[in-house]
Chain length 140, copies 2
DNA sequence: ACAACTGTAACCTTGAGAGTTACATATAAA
DNA sequence: TTTATATGTAACTCTCAAGGTTACAGTTGT
């Protein structure tokens, strides 16, 4: 959803876009978007102004926004969910399985982020523009 | 949880282990384990017998079980959840953002699996054994 | 026969994420 | 300065997946 929002902002190229408009593209409620914007602001990806005729716009060029930074801006917890209950500490496996897996999982997540870093918002935008070059129906 | 179960089976080295015992190590209900076992069977990782005095044991050597195969055996859906509602198709971004992201996300997941593939169950087992070499308290 | 297992159905519980309503606040423009 | 247009945020509800639980049918060694 975050990538979608940023893609719209990139598409609009600097123009101030309201949360209502973003919500209509994502097909969700404006409040859901407004909950997302502060995260993207904190990551320095967008800038948002208040008041009439305002909205959000990108703070960096799409070429300089990599998908891993979007991932980190938005994603709070690990992709691998830990046990809800802690394993049986009296069992030798239960005792140290978590720390053993933590290392493996965090390096797996790093690998995933490195792969995400290979794509920029500009790459996404290019695909979007290429796709609608034939049938250009822009609305709202 | 699947890795935990397999690690216990590796630790017990061929011995038939009951779902009740596995559950006590993971600290969960035996039924949860029994729901997991068929997935590991289907992936050819374990073998389970029925009846009195039976249980599960590994079908391959721990050295030959890589974590990515465990991941695929257990994980059904993608780590990146798709939009619950489809985006606004009238918006050029909404129209093709999903297919654009699908490609990026699946290659990111591939990268993650390749990283997981670098670790085998034997590696996990080694950590476990090293960890409890000092304070060996084996129970149940 | 019986006890020790797995398999599975049918439920409840929990937590995260999204969706919704309502309202306070900020601000450009009339 | 007033008003329409925005964001920010609290306080819910909805939904769904994962785990947890109970109960019981089926299987097999002893």
């Amino acid at each position: 959803m975050a990538v979608h929002v940023l893609a719209v902002l990139a598409y609009k190229d600097g123009e101030a876009v309201t949360s209502t408009l973003l919500a209509s593209s994502v097909n969700t409620n404006a409040v859901v978007i407004r909950r997302l914007l502060p995260l993207l602001q904190a990551a320095g990806l967008i800038e948002t102004t208040k008041g009439a005729g305002s909205g959000s716009h990108l703070r960096k060029k799409p070429e300089r926004i990599r998908l891993d930074s979007i991932y980190r801006a938005v994603e709070t917890d690990e992709p691998f969910t830990a046990h809800s209950k802690t394993p049986n500490q009296a069992c030798p496996v239960g005792y140290c399985i978590q720390s053993a897996l933590d290392k493996v999982f965090s390096s797996a997540e790093c690998a995933m982020q490195e792969e995400l870093a290979k794509t920029t918002l500009a790459d996404i935008l290019k695909i979007v523009k290429a796709s609608c070059s034939g049938s250009d129906k822009k609305r709202k």
